[in-house]
């Protein structure tokens, strides 16, 4: 246990090398702004899978996720001359996806009202079945719990767990304070623990 904590100190330093990563992103962004299309492609390669997975987590539609992510990069390219990013690029990308995912939900609702015929196109049965299969491998209880975590806790937990983001980055994406991020995380983890260890009375 203690040795693990010792080890952690050095691994924490490794994580701090995310500063280098920010630097790399800054350079790519600079090139991109100078009309360098391969810089755009490099950024795309770097974040495509992460962003698609995050989007899929939010909207649960595989093809629409690809659509939303590629649209975002299209917008970045089109607006490269005027684009201003104040936080780091990764936080910017994730918060854009979050925004676009909620816009997608809104437009889908409107569309459903307008045109019921369109609806079957959204039911991409095969992909849905795929992800359901994966989830089913977990205990049903965990599954139920995860879907029931209220937002923003659910997304915060995901950003921390899957993307390994720090409180600061999550707070930028979710537009809340770092303290609030920590509070939400704590609640989720405690609840999760009580499901995995039902007899622990902590």
């Amino acid at each position: 246990m203690i040795s693990e904590l010792e080890e952690y100190k050095s691994s924490n330093q490794i994580k701090n090398s995310s500063i280098d990563n920010d630097e790399e992103d800054r350079l790519l962004l600079l090139k991109l702004k100078q009309n360098n299309r391969s810089a755009l492609n490099n950024l795309f390669d770097k974040y495509y899978n992460q962003l698609c997975n995050f989007c899929h987590f939010l909207i649960e539609q595989k093809e629409e996720s690809e659509e939303i992510v590629t649209d975002l990069f299209l917008k970045i390219w089109q607006n490269r001359a005027t684009l201003q990013i104040h936080s780091n690029l990764r936080a910017y990308l994730f918060s854009s996806i979050k925004y676009r995912a909620s816009a997608y939900f809104k437009s889908r609702k409107n569309k459903e009202r307008k045109n019921l015929e369109d609806y079957p196109d959204f039911l991409v049965s095969e992909n849905q079945a795929d992800s359901e299969l994966l989830i089913n491998e977990l205990s049903t209880e965990l599954n139920l719990f995860l879907n029931a975590i209220p937002e923003p806790g659910r997304t915060i937990f995901r950003l921390s767990k899957t993307e390994g983001m720090k409180y600061k980055e999550i707070s930028q994406i979710m537009n809340i304070s770092e303290k609030t991020v920590e509070n939400h995380l704590l609640l989720v983890v405690k609840k999760l623990k009580s499901i995995i260890f039902p007899n622990s009375n902590a």
């Binding site: 997975n53 595989k62 690809e66 079957p120 039911l123 049965s125 992800s131 409180y167 995380l185 983890v189």
Partner: protein, 337 residues
């Protein structure tokens, strides 16, 4: 105290803890059996893999992105247009599996044909690629279609929930997005090609006597009124418009697929066919001043080559001279044995 401990542990797992925080966490764990156990359970909880990760195809994503950029109005290339059967209208689009179909000539002018299979509420979209161009389009279901020059593809604005039907005239390479609940059907004249998810080429130019379907990956079913064949990768079926026969055979990948990689490919190809290919490829017209040279053959691969370079090749290998007048090329020579 417990709340403080949990906060510290969480900061530790999230790689958020400072050196001082790690030290005080260590202290708590060392001095208290309860916290020691608690740390263990929290650690297991934290490390539990809970979010299933999907696989997203990066190459495909890139293709979609770059297609979107090339099509967007701000990049000043081409824009999407829809509907009308005006053959001269230029359409732009993007795609990825290769199907080449050769169509029956009468069909082309028959406006009503396309409404025949579809109820009136289905809105159809038509894409036409003129000579000298190639275009890739992405359909709503994720299927990519690369269209060769002088090719027309018609498809409904929204696919039905039971099947995905498109009409092809000309040549195209299809990469069909897999959807087992909705088969993908390509209709080219009397020939119907059906797949669930695969890639293949269909060559169905109206002026050709035959339609060829060549499979790259997956399984493909091809049928007409009387016959049905199943193809696997490396197999091709040739449908004769004259006697409606279906003949299966292996095929040369380069011969059928190179066009989609911007390569003109000839292997002992008679000049009459070379000329036809070049007319489509470069959007020009070719005239033979001496019919003898129709018997000459050409072998060669031309990747992204200029028209002049291809003409020079023909000149040196077959002793055929060329002369360019506006958009027409006149070929002349003694002929070959």
């Amino acid at each position: 105290m417990e709340e403080k401990f949990e906060r510290l542990a969480l900061r530790f797992f999230n790689k958020e803890a400072t050196k001082e925080e790690i030290d005080s966490l260590k202290k708590l764990i060392n001095e208290n059996e309860f916290f020691k156990r608690e740390f263990e359970t929290l650690k297991i909880t934290w490390e539990k893999e809970i979010f299933p990760q999907q696989k997203f195809d990066l190459a495909r994503g890139r293709k979609i992105l770059n297609q979107k950029i090339d099509e967007s109005p701000t990049t000043k290339t081409r824009q999407l247009h829809t509907t009308t059967l005006n053959r001269r209208q230029v359409f732009a689009f993007a795609a990825s599996v290769s199907v080449v179909l050769i169509f029956l000539s009468g069909l082309f002018l028959n406006r009503n044909f396309f409404q025949f299979n579809n109820s009136p509420i289905v809105q159809m979209v038509e894409k036409f690629v003129p000579a000298g161009k190639k275009q890739t389009i992405r359909l709503k279901d994720g299927t990519m279609v690369k269209l060769n020059a002088e090719t027309k593809l018609m498809f409904p604005k929204n696919f039905k929930s039971t099947e995905r039907v498109v009409h092809l005239e000309g040549e195209a390479f299809f990469e069909v997005a897999r959807d087992t609940s909705r088969p993908f059907k390509i209709i080219s004249g009397e020939l119907e090609t059906q797949v669930l998810g695969t890639s293949f080429n269909i060559s169905a130019y109206p002026e050709n006597k035959e339609i060829k379907v060549s499979v790259a990956t997956g399984k493909v079913e091809v049928k007409n009124k009387n016959n049905k064949v199943h193809l696997i990768p490396g197999e091709q079926v040739i449908f004769s418009k004259q006697d409606a026969s279906l003949i299966e055979k292996p095929f040369n990948y380069k011969q059928e697929f190179s066009w989609k990689d911007s390569t003109l490919f000839f292997e002992d190809t008679p000049m009459s066919l070379v000329a036809k290919s070049m007319e489509r490829w470069y959007g020009i017209s070719i005239k033979f001043e001496n019919q003898e040279i129709l018997d000459c053959q050409l072998t060669g691969e031309f990747k992204n080559e200029s028209l002049i370079n291809v003409l020079e090749s023909i000149k040196y290998t077959n002793d055929i001279t060329y002369r360019i007048v506006n958009e027409t090329i006149f070929l002349d020579g003694k002929g070959c044995d």
